[in-house]
Symmetry: C2
Subunit: 226 residues, 2 copies
DNA sequence: TAATTTATTAACGTATACATTAATAAATCT
DNA sequence: AGATTTATTAATGTATACGTTAATAAATTA
């Protein structure tokens, strides 16, 4: 057992997984080039075994793809991929909204959600899209977290990660997200009234609208692979 | 490269994964006992590396759980787990139903779905629950497959696997599934009419009803962990 | 006898050796 | 020059050695 004053050492495979994922999501690794297991091991300064385990995990999560004899590369995301991802996120988040309404949220939870929408409003007024995106992400995260379904939470997290690079790439290309704030507020109100079907419907419509807008934008800019 | 007449050898890790999963789903491994990596390797007649990779994958898919120094065991499924799983399946399958209606299905696809409902009818008449379950599974599989969303298909597969043992355990405890057949037929009709919202609603209600019935049954029988 | 401390053992995480094999370079043939 | 065959190389899958460490047995203390 470790001495009292030191916490358990994080397994190298976990570390490899975290670092690779961060590099992918932060665009430090790109879709254009492959890296073999050996190259990744050298980059992460560890042996192939933990590196390999981390790569297998990331491949299963859809963030990288493995090509025989060529190693891994960041998985390009196509418009078709985004359609699939948004279809699932729409279904799951609507479910989360309905669950929140059915189970009921306490005042702290409702406050947190309202605060995130307020932060979205303020960010819009200041024309700060980065802040707006951060607040919007908080809202969606609360929605899923407060649904109290661990599996749903993990799934949504994963798909948000799969679509992260595309969403960051297109943040400033999108029109000003004026109606998002109102949609979110409507959802919160429906949740507060324990109106599951209304919460589901509003959020579903919001998500479908957002999805259509994003797909349309990708098509218009000719962004077929990202 | 392999000689022409032999197909590429399946990696041992894949084989380990398939065999372990089959044993779990067929109740050849039980929730009551742990097996170390070494014990599993001996059982599967291969070294620890492919075994370990397979075990990690199954753990991430929620079919087993790993306990430090004690190895793996089949993950018991609680009522809470079943609630979560059904909440997700409800959301995803409803999405699939709506996608089928939106995208439209061809006559072959509609026929396959109708045939599975016919098989459900016949199985019910013959009081053959096993056959009924098989036909019901086909219907659900078609629904998801014909939604044309690969990610959704994989997810649903995984959750169906997580709940498989509980569903098999309770098959003969459940009341006769009289309304399932009609529900499924109604969904098919809505899909045929390209009525996405109706397809979604009907399937959502069906799934919620099934879920409530199953949870209620588990609670009544006192089946807290399976 | 119960609690605490120390010792032991085996499970696991990782490193690396080795066998297999996929991609590609080189050689050969037409 | 292009197509085909053979050779080569390095990536990957797997086996196993080894260091770390978690659980538990044994020893010690109160």
């Amino acid at each position: 057992m470790n001495k009292k004053q030191t916490k358990p050492k994080e397994p190298l495979a976990n570390k490899a997984y975290r670092e690779l994922k961060r590099k992918i999501l932060d665009n430090e690794l790109h879709t254009g080039s492959h890296m073999t297991e050996q190259e990744v091991s050298t980059l992460l300064e560890m042996s192939r075994t933990p590196t390999r385990e981390a790569m297998l995990q990331l491949a299963r999560e859809g963030l990288i793809e493995l090509k025989p004899r060529h190693g891994m590369r960041v998985k390009p995301v196509s418009i078709e991929d985004m359609k699939e991802i948004y279809e699932i996120l729409t279904g799951l988040e609507s479910t989360a909204a309905a669950l929140c309404a059915t189970n009921g949220l306490n005042n702290d939870q409702l406050s947190l959600m309202r605060e995130s929408v307020t932060a979205m409003d303020e960010a819009l007024q200041q024309d700060d899209l980065i802040q707006w995106a951060a607040a919007d992400e908080r809202f969606h995260r609360y929605l899923v977290e407060f649904s109290d379904n661990q599996r749903l939470q993990k799934l949504v997290s994963n798909f948000i990660e799969q679509s992260h690079r595309v969403r960051m790439l297109t943040l400033k290309m999108r029109p000003k997200p004026n109606s998002s704030n109102k949609d979110h507020l409507d959802v919160i109100n429906a949740i507060e009234s324990n109106n599951a079907e209304t919460a589901r419907l509003i959020h579903h419509q919001h998500r479908e609208k957002s999805g259509r807008m994003l797909i349309s934008l990708l098509e218009n800019f000719g962004l077929n692979h990202m």
